[in-house]
Symmetry: C2
Subunit: 103 residues, 2 copies
Amino acid sequence: MVQFVHPQRDEITLAGVLAALADPMRLRIVKSLAAQNDCMSCTEAAPCPDMAKSTLSNHFRILREAGLIRTSKQGVQHRNVLREEDINARFPRLLKMILSFPE
Amino acid sequence: MVQFVHPQRDEITLAGVLAALADPMRLRIVKSLAAQNDCMSCTEAAPCPDMAKSTLSNHFRILREAGLIRTSKQGVQHRNVLREEDINARFPRLLKMILSFPE
DNA sequence: TTCAATAGTTCAATACTAATGAACTATTGA
DNA sequence: TCAATAGTTCATTAGTATTGAACTATTGAA
């Protein structure tokens, strides 16, 4: 049984968040989650269709360990949700601002 | 003669800026430059005294190529200045916000 | 119950990036 | 002219990313 590691709110660091968002693919994943405003499976939130699933899985792990998303299991899928409240509490308005830029 | 490569304003990317700022040492360099509000040499803006100068040089190169700083030569030193106007034009308020967080 | 399909993870291999010491370049001042 | 200073570049080593292959867990159908 896979157990996911999520940092507590106060363990989330600025460098960790920026590093996680500094990858174009991960930025797209986070944008998808923010736009959806709901849980998404890994494949639903995949930034491009031809990415190896091991690579995709790794990106989700990095987002999870940076504290940007929370993952839970539901059936055969993983439900990923953006930790907006936690990020906003740590770094007010940062996430919204970064996601507001067009690229 | 060393020639520095600086991206044009419109070549500055969000992922590039975030990646450059995602390193704690580079974040400290940028904070020093922002606090100084003036040119600083590489050693003046060094984030810690025991860093190898090749490493320091590499960090400045990454900041330069991301468009965060502009470097010019003045005598034996390099004068580094934060490209606040360019970054603000591309990503309004982003830099100020990131630098406002305590860590 | 068995078995195939689905959704992800983990592992091992390879490719890329970062950190460092050593050697180098350019400028200054004695 | 020569030593000191400030950085860069290069080669090596260490760490991180990407990927295919093998694996785990869950579901739905036969």
